[in-house]
Symmetry: C2
Subunit: 320 residues, 2 copies
């Protein structure tokens, strides 16, 4: 089958890969559409040392199991469902887990993918494929509200004007309207402005510690020091993006100002699907570029460019 | 008067300093006893660039105000009591604050010290000076329970076998008995063992992420990476000590394992005084060395040694 792989940091489109073999608890999904995420760009740079088929944001059609023939999205953590962590509700942190397209489990930049049955969620008819492809990152945005209580009087800063920052802004918008997005790109910031979020260019940031909550979606080592300069004493910094490189910074402000730092990763798919169905989150105009799998390199390059927002693979297209 | 100053990282005992001048809201306290803390050692190394009289843990006798003639201890943050932060209960984080013996306010390694009246707390008769001198660090230990909910089933690791770690262990002991102290010094770890805390030498630590809460009291840049290796996914790391130097580490585990990092500084004096009065915390055998102010250098050297625990200045002694 056709798919996009990385190995030793080399990205390749291939049309000669074997079909996925579903394990006992897995279902093969015909992938319809798959989205490129910042983590994919980091993986290509060597983060996690992943080798295999890339891609973890997808929508497709289940070919067997209880959702056979239905459109589905899939959670990315493949847990053992037997260990103490899984038993205690920490399945996403199962120490035996593999992660689709990230850690020892082939991903969704492929015609077909094997996914554990219990990871799948049916997509309601009113949610399009173009919307459903955002469920995974949207769920990650909802994870913030599972972890941090945001009051309607809270001032929230979103660092990073990209895809994830924009989803976080929409999700947090259900709790407070007092939001400011900090970014480098006027066109991207304009998206935030259109949904009522104040915007400020990174170069013009007034580093006053006035925000109750700061969400770092920069995917950069510069995000955390900026967040610490903006959060008020006893405030909260949410670290929403992983960074492959090391930080070199003073953490004394965390102690002196009694900051709470919260690492945040995968979130609840049910909340993301409900938000799309109820139209409380709008992702309808976020896809700026579409590629067939054959366009792997161009697609990933595009996803790293300033003029793109969401780049997706139309997987069933053959590029003709 | 006699006092111990630092300026440009030089520690000096002096007997020619002017008497403190109390501001309108301040009271002069005759210092009886003052304790040396890890922060003092960091200040001598240049942390905060402090210049003035050192010392922020003390017990003494108020010479005026509503506590005149009474034994008192004093909170160290001198707040403006007028700004929005002070109004909202964040007085310890007042942006105009000075901090006794740490930041632009002369400290307690002196015969007399001027302290804001509202910072003072009366010491109950049943609490000795040898105990009261621990109120400030003990309050800092109680701050942890103000910030983090510790359940009786929680496993807690205390990193650092020194003074603050031991106070934290006693305070957290009211919430859970499942505690492990990690340190380098057998004699210090033995103190923890005597109050029922499991102990392990740093060299023998099994870096399994099994602790619900890890409290870093090491005062070292090595504390945080160790804490991150010991805390379970979705667990909490309390950063209890400031470190003057920069950290150089990967923070990706905070995101991947969804760790919460909580900076923790000064705490509630009333809870510390109540614990000493009610004997729920025992500090009776912690003072290992006593010096007159004249013994400044020897005292601070002693406080940095492995065979000392708490080192105090008996301020009214003249070394004769």
């Amino acid at each position: 089958m056709r798919a996009i792989t990385i190995r030793d940091d080399v990205l390749r489109y291939r049309d000669d890969l074997p079909e996925p073999i579903a394990a006992a608890d897995e279902v093969v999904v015909d992938v319809t559409q798959a989205g490129i995420c910042e983590t994919d760009l980091q993986l290509v740079r060597g983060y996690m040392g992943f080798a295999g088929i890339l891609g973890h944001e997808f929508v497709g059609i289940a070919t067997s199991g209880s959702f056979e023939g239905q459109r589905v999205v899939g959670e990315i953590n493949c847990n053992c469902r037997a260990c103490p962590r899984c038993d205690s509700g920490l399945g996403n942190h199962c120490s035996k887990r593999t992660v689709i397209g990230i850690d020892r489990h082939d991903g969704a930049f492929a015609e077909r993918i094997a996914v554990p049955q219990h990871n799948l969620h049916s997509v309601p008819d009113t949610v399009t494929d173009d919307e459903a492809v955002f469920v995974e990152p949207l769920a990650a945005a909802f994870e913030i509200l599972q972890q941090v209580k945001v009051a309607d009087s809270d001032r929230v800063a979103i660092l990073g004007d990209g895809r994830l920052g924009y989803l976080c802004a929409q999700v947090i918008g259900s709790s407070t309207r007092r939001m400011t997005a900090v970014g480098k790109h006027r066109l991207k910031l304009d998206r935030f402005a259109r949904i009522g979020v104040s915007t400020v260019n990174l170069d013009d940031v007034d580093a006053e510690p006035v925000f109750d909550v700061v969400v770092d979606c920069t995917g950069s080592v510069t995000g955390l020091p900026l967040a610490l300069s903006l959060v008020r004493p006893r405030g909260t910094v949410v670290m929403k993006t992983t960074v492959a490189s090391r930080h070199h910074l003073s953490l004394a402000p965390i102690v002196i100002d009694e900051i709470t730092l919260v690492g945040s990763r995968c979130g609840p798919f049910d909340k993301a699907l409900a938000a799309l169905q109820e139209r409380t989150v709008d992702v309808s105009d976020l896809i700026t570029h579409r590629y067939p799998l054959e366009g792997a390199e161009a697609a990933l390059e595009s996803a790293a460019q300033h003029d793109s927002f969401k780049v997706v693979f139309d997987v069933q297209s053959n590029g003709a």
